[in-house]
């Protein structure tokens, strides 16, 4: 699943990230954990690959995506590179009532603010 990531361009990775986020939203709102987790693993590997190429900021435009799950998952992965924007996005999503994405945004925000988050550290390409 993750082996061919290095062969993909950044645009392809971002495209797949967004695609997965939309599908994960459907699983997430339906409470389907297993398919969600399967897609999560792929998406997380993509985010790590973007990070290793110092290209995680290419996810930032997704913070304006029409799908709230794309906004949420982009924000959760971009906290290290743009705290201000991701925090604002998560706060806005946290206002959503009755939908799982709202709960997730609130939990994520609390984890980030508590300092419990496991951040990726300095990008290998930058350091």
């Amino acid at each position: 699943m993750t082996k061919d990531l290095t062969g993909r361009s950044i645009e392809q990775l971002v495209e797949r990230f967004v695609e997965l986020a939309i599908l994960m939203g459907e699983d997430g709102e339906a409470g389907l954990n297993r398919p969600y987790t399967r897609k999560f693993r792929e998406q997380y590997a993509i985010a790590n690959e973007l990070w290793s190429r110092s290209a995680l900021q290419t996810l930032l435009p997704s913070l304006e995506h029409e799908n709230p799950w794309v906004r949420y998952l982009s924000a959760a992965n971009c906290w290290e590179i743009d705290r201000e924007r991701t925090e604002a996005t998560l706060e806005a999503l946290g206002e959503i009532e009755f939908w799982t994405v709202g709960i997730e945004a609130r939990i994520s925000l609390r984890i980030f603010r508590s300092g419990d988050a496991v951040l990726r550290g300095p990008s290998p390409a930058r350091s």
Partner: protein
């Protein structure tokens, strides 16, 4: 199905009765409580056997089923103690030892509960990238890697050492560092789930601890041969693994402790209370582990928190969730009982099944809570709350549990 329970005679007054239904047949396992002590033919289930198992009776049964001799004691060090006592003709003591293996006295049990060793074993079972409790991470940190190879040759059946790993490419069961080996070039297998374990080398003391743990794991996973009757943990087709349940962890730790006692050469005397010494020994090792791996320190706090919690006079605790429901009945239509600190979190049953930990919430909210606990999170390095909480203190479990309840608006 075929009346296999005839092995366990109800007319053996010389054996300690261990209370109702502590021993029964479950699937293809004979269980002492939840602890599997021996495999039998699959297909026999649901036969409660309310008597303590006689090792020899069990071995007879094995012989009958598998058509060859078994020495169960060879595979579980504490069972060996029982077997030794049997050999001495001290049947009463053998029965007491076996009883103690399956059901440690409350004193020992409580130390056990709070020792954190259990969490260590239990948590490591998850092996899902939580570096706090991952034995493989320790091995990697020590510059070692797991060397389990299912294709490694074994001593054939029929031999006294049947099923044991044998020399193969020179690295035998009695190799330098248990079943781990120093990689030739420091290279790893490149797996996706590899942990970033840092570069700090293990001290000599840590090294020793890793070896002991690894030995214990090996001892419990050496289920030998195709017809291995003792399915403690793992089996022939499966790679060795850490215990996945608390009961397995109990067995695992007991075996480990006993092995260490053997190493120290100090067995409890015939007339000494067998668990007193193990108890002291466990305490000593808990202190050592605490010192060597400071990241485990949070585990030992549970006992204090628990004592504070039960100081509440309205507090009621139960030995099981079923007992709780017998008292409080159903949660009502479209409502569920929810454990704030989850049932699988590894704390004792009374810590989990009590009025301070169980709340009544709408079923939809309950689903939301379960989802929120199990969903992997990028901000936690891909772990879910449930995974992230492994090995953390009771108060941290409680804090997260309450926070999630607030998030789903089941709690104000």
């Amino acid at each position: 199905m075929h009346g296999h329970t005839r092995w366990v005679s109800r007319d053996r007054p010389d054996f300690a009765r261990s209370g109702p239904e502590r021993c029964w047949i479950d699937g293809d396992l004979i269980r002492l409580s939840h602890w599997p002590v021996g495999g039998i033919r699959a297909g026999v289930r649901g036969k409660p056997v309310p008597w303590l198992m006689d090792l020899r009776v069990l071995e007879d049964a094995m012989r009958e089923v598998y058509g060859r001799d078994f020495a169960l004691g060879d595979r579980a060090p504490l069972l060996q103690l029982a077997a030794d006592a049997l050999a001495d003709g001290d049947r009463r003591r053998a029965a007491e030892i076996a009883d103690a293996i399956a059901f440690p006295p409350p004193e020992f049990k409580s130390r056990f509960r709070d020792a954190g060793l259990r969490y260590l074993a239990w948590g490591a079972a998850h092996n899902r990238g939580n570096p706090r409790v991952d034995i493989d991470a320790w091995l990697a940190r020590a510059g070692l890697e797991s060397k389990y190879d299912p294709d490694q040759p074994r001593v054939p059946r029929g031999h006294p050492d049947g099923g044991q790993w044998t020399g193969g490419n020179g690295a035998g069961r009695d190799g330098a560092v248990g079943n781990v080996a120093i990689p030739e070039d420091g290279a790893t297998d490149g797996s996706d789930e590899e942990l970033d374990t840092g570069d700090e080398p293990l001290t000599e003391e840590q090294q020793r601890l890793v070896e002991i743990f690894d030995d214990a794991r090996k001892d419990l996973t050496d289920a030998s041969g195709e017809n291995a009757p003792l399915v403690l943990i793992g089996g022939d087709e499966k790679p060795p693994r850490f215990p996945r349940t608390k009961r397995e962890a109990l067995a695992w730790l007991a075996a480990w402790l006993t092995e260490e006692m053997k190493r120290r050469g100090s067995f409890p005397g015939r007339n000494s209370p067998i668990w007193m010494e193990i108890n002291d020994f466990a305490r000593e090792w808990v202190n050592r582990i605490n010192r060597i791996f400071p990241e485990f320190e949070g585990y030992w706090e549970s006992a204090k928190e628990w004592e504070e919690m039960i100081a509440d006079k309205d507090f009621r605790d139960f030995n099981s969730f079923e007992a709780f429901k017998r008292k409080y009945k159903s949660a009502g239509p479209f409502r569920d009982w929810h454990h704030v600190v989850e049932q699988g979190s590894g704390f004792s049953k009374k810590m989990i099944n009590n009025t301070a930990n169980i709340v009544r919430i709408p079923r939809g909210k309950h689903w939301d809570v379960v989802y929120a606990m199990t969903k992997p999170r990028p901000e936690l390095g891909g772990l879910s709350y449930r995974e992230w909480l492994v090995g953390r203190s009771f108060s941290e479990h409680m804090r997260v549990g309450l926070d999630v309840l607030r998030e789903v608006k089941a709690l104000k």
